[in-house]
Amino acid sequence: MSSEIYRELILDYYRNPRNFGKVEPHDISARDSNPLCGDEIEIQVRVTPEKKIGEIKFTGKGCAISQASASMLTEFAKGKPLEWVKELSKEDIFKLLGTRDLGPARVKCALLSMKVLKTGTYSYLGAKLEDGQDS
């Protein structure tokens, strides 16, 4: 872990989160929390007729890393096919954040939003999340 993670970009997303809020009406809604730190993320999605992510927003509270990564993920995911969510990996999140040097204690903060998006999407698609697909 180095304070490189607290680059201006991440702090900017933390202070001014993009896509913060609720989507009404929505097709997908999922929420999860990190029991260790109490970070919370809820993501809502409206799905287009082509089964793409139309509108996507998040709400939550927690540290700069969990909130910034959620905001970045919603921007990144907008317009992508739902099937794409299955392919999403932690490497994608590290790329968005611009670092993988998070340290074991903070990785969960960074990946919480991905877990939420996957949980919601899989449930919408009627598929089951397999071991390892959410982290």
Binding site: M1, Y6, C37, G38, K61, G62, A64
Partner: protein, 300 residues
């Protein structure tokens, strides 16, 4: 314990003094009640007295809160609980390592503390119990050494404490803990306590100068163990801990295994700086420097 028996706890307990009683309550349908705190993190005595009127079977409380630092007047609480007919247990995990503690002065039935919080190894702790009670209790675990005789038809339990120490004793950790206790005793527990009070006073003054801090717990260092829990406006404790870590300052951030207390304080987490005999004024200065750096980073 049986149906409708009452266990009285407080809202400042560590999960380790909540969850076991909830498990007991699930099994026996006993009830659990929590005594509230005042705004300064001190136990609300009006509520405590009221709970004593409900004839609790067991009263269990922390001697010193691991979050607020609040030092409870254990002898006074035990006196009131015993008068109400309750068995008493003191969680001394935060007091025994940091200050002189005398079970006969407190007068409790049980008192527990951990090895790893007092320079000792993990995986070992101490449970003190009044002998008469221990002799009345059944073993919680079966195995070697906890018996006097075993026959095909039954067994006769060994004497206290062997009755509760089934199997091969964890003697390696016991030796380690013994050495830690000898070391702390050679320093002197009152000296350890005095040192922490000095650091706590200094740290409270210096961190408050940084500005934007909310400090939780009693303001009077004499009523407080050597922990400083706080939040800084606009900076989540996990971010703060990561930034301080970079500065070589290790704090604990999170709910400190006291989620009901976090709910009571209406926060999800706090920062906590903890002091022990090896800490110095320089460490406090490093903490303050780190806090200022974090504020600069987040305010930019």
């Amino acid at each position: 314990m049986k149906k409708d028996d009452l266990v009285v706890l407080t809202k400042m307990e560590h999960h380790s003094n909540i969850v076991p009683w909830q498990l007991v309550a699930q099994k026996t349908h006993a009830k659990v009640k929590y005594v509230d705190l005042d705004e300064d993190g001190i136990l609300n005595m009006v509520e405590f007295e009221r709970a004593m009127n409900d004839s609790p079977k067991l009263v269990a409380f922390t001697h010193c809160s691991n979050v607020l630092g609040t030092i409870n007047d254990a002898a006074m609480l035990v006196r009131k609980a015993r008068k109400a007919g309750a068995t008493t247990l003191v969680d001394a995990a935060q007091s025994v390592p940091h200050m002189p503690v005398d079970v006969s002065q407190i007068g409790c039935d049980f008192l527990a503390f951990s090895g790893h919080k007092m320079l000792g190894p993990t995986g070992i702790g101490v449970l003190y119990g009044r002998k008469a009670l221990l002799e009345d209790m059944e073993p919680f675990q079966g195995g070697g050494d906890m018996i006097k005789e075993v026959h095909l038809t039954g067994a006769k339990w060994n004497d206290v404490p062997y009755k509760f120490e089934a199997g091969t004793t964890n003697f390696a950790d016991a030796v380690g803990l013994g050495v830690a206790i000898d070391y702390l005793s050679s320093v002197g527990m009152q000296k350890v306590r005095d040192h922490e009070v000095e650091l706590l006073k200094y740290a409270t003054e210096e961190t408050e100068k940084v500005g934007g801090l909310t400090i939780y717990g009693p303001r009077d260092a004499a009523r407080r163990g050597g922990v400083l829990s706080f939040n800084v406006e606009g900076i989540h404790p996990h971010d703060m801990a990561s930034i301080l870590d970079e500065e070589g300052v290790a704090i604990r951030s999170g709910h400190h295994c006291a989620q009901p207390l976090m709910e009571r304080l209406d926060v999800t987490a706090t920062n906590r700086a903890s002091f022990y005999l090896y800490n110095s004024y320089d460490d406090v200065d490093a903490l303050v420097g780190g806090l200022k750096k974090a504020k600069r980073m987040f305010e930019a």
